[in-house]
């Protein structure tokens, strides 16, 4: 069974279709890249699959659960790296991850290792409000990993990262895939992502380009 199954999905903002009927599948333990121009609807697609917003038409299931009717089940198994980074500005990097761990009912034990993985261990006790653009991206990536998701949705994961950061993302994606995680990634770094991906779809004006 496909890890992500999207059928004629549609979503509108006001009087404009951001997604106008998109269908595709992502098999388990594979990496798919979503391409497309600015405003093509990539973020909208990922936000629907991550159950952050509701679709206006069609259907989609993630890890076997419907994104409208079984939102809580979908949420248990997916994590999304979004344009919004979901960080508390007035908490430190470590506290941000601790809050997530607490809400997931996880132990706080693995947090330091995660911070080291994204090269933020030296800044673990600094407030997020003092972080540079790339450091925020790193922390929100760590936040995604902390959730140990079965399906990962990455919206522009390379944005604001430095070259070692690019390599970090690549390595983690390979690792996740080898452990059976499914990854859907929207990015403009086509060449870099192509090396990782098993499949590619291109959106154009809310539809899959021919």
């Amino acid at each position: 069974m496909a890890a992500i199954d999207v059928q004629r999905l549609a979503r509108r903002y006001g009087r404009r279709w951001a997604l106008a009927g998109v269908s595709f599948q992502v098999p388990e333990a594979s990496v798919m890249m979503v391409n497309g121009h600015n405003g093509a609807g990539k973020s909208t697609l990922l936000r629907i699959l991550g159950t952050a917003i509701l679709p206006d038409g069609g259907s989609a299931s993630v890890a076997g659960f419907d994104v409208v009717k079984q939102r809580q089940d979908v949420r248990k198994l997916t994590a999304i790296l979004s344009h919004q980074n979901y960080l508390y500005e007035s908490l430190t990097a470590r506290e941000n991850l601790q809050v997530v761990a607490d809400h997931l009912g996880k132990s706080r034990g693995g947090i330091d290792a995660l911070l080291a993985q994204v090269a933020l261990d030296a800044r673990a006790n600094d407030l997020v409000s003092t972080f540079s653009a790339g450091m925020r991206k790193r922390l929100s990536f760590a936040r995604v990993l902390l959730q140990e998701p079965r399906v990962v949705l990455l919206d522009e994961p390379y944005g604001a990262l430095d070259p070692p950061g690019f390599d970090l993302i690549d390595a983690v994606i390979r690792d996740l895939k080898s452990r059976g995680t499914t990854i859907l990634m929207a990015t403009h770094q086509v060449e870099r992502a192509a090396r990782l991906c098993d499949a590619v779809i291109t959106l154009e004006g809310g539809r899959i380009a021919a």
């Binding site: 004629r8 999905l9 549609a10 106008a20 009927g21 069609g58």
Partner: protein, 226 residues
């Protein structure tokens, strides 16, 4: 559409008849004189206001359970008509209060609960103006309407308690039978008018929503729109 206009016409007819009787046929009241004739619109407005609030409350509950945009349109109509009625009620009441009680306003249970709900519904209407996303707008106004309606009996009883020492209202039972007919006519007049308005307003709301959600056609690939 047609029925709505029939209701409006009926309402106006009843109101004209009732007001004619109330103003020119019924005798003036003993203590208050002619001012008292405001009662013929005041009391019907009050009754129908309560009905409108109930209607909005029902629509809000129905929306939360069905998520059907139709109920949102009804909620919008009910809310606005009830706001209008509450406003009229306050105006009529104030005009009446000035000569009888010597003040425009007084904090008695009825007045307070009307004022509270008037402001609450204005707040909800304002909220609707700020939310662009139609779904959110509907959910939020339904939630706010429910809380405000639940609030209504609480306000009524708490204020009643609060002011229990100096009640100023005379009781409706003292109304003599000569006043009944115009009162009844007007009550139905306002009721029909209100039903007509709510129907018309619902239509406008549905049309607004349709315009707001008017879309260029999607390809045949697209799924059904909920």
């Amino acid at each position: 559409m047609k029925t709505a206009w029939i209701f409006v016409v009926l309402g106006v007819a009843f109101l004209v008849a009732g007001s004619y009787l109330g103003l020119f046929v019924a005798p003036a009241e003993e203590y208050m004189g002619n001012v008292q004739r405001i009662m013929y619109v005041h009391v019907p407005t009050a009754w129908n206001w309560m009905l409108a609030v109930l209607y909005a409350f029902g629509a809000a509950i129905a929306f939360l359970f069905t998520a059907n945009a139709k109920w949102d349109a009804r909620l919008e109509a009910g809310l606005e008509v009830s706001t209008l009625l509450a406003f009229l009620l306050c105006c009529q009441g104030s005009i009446w209060a000035k000569p009888t009680w010597g003040v425009w306003w007084d904090w008695d249970p009825r007045l307070t609960s009307v004022a509270v709900l008037l402001f609450a519904s204005i707040g909800i209407i304002a909220l609707r103006g700020f939310v662009d996303d139609p779904h959110r707008r509907a959910v939020w106004s339904a939630v706010a309407t429910i809380i405000a309606s639940v609030d209504l009996p609480i306000v009524y009883y708490s204020v009643k308690w609060w002011n229990s020492l100096h009640q100023q209202q005379s009781s409706p039972q003292t109304v003599s039978s000569q006043f009944h007919l115009p009162l009844r006519l007007n009550a139905f007049g306002v009721l029909f008018l209100m039903i007509g308005f709510i129907m018309l307003r619902t239509r406008v709301a549905n049309m607004n929503r349709a315009r707001e959600t008017a879309l260029p056609p999607m390809t045949e690939h697209a799924g059904e729109i909920a």
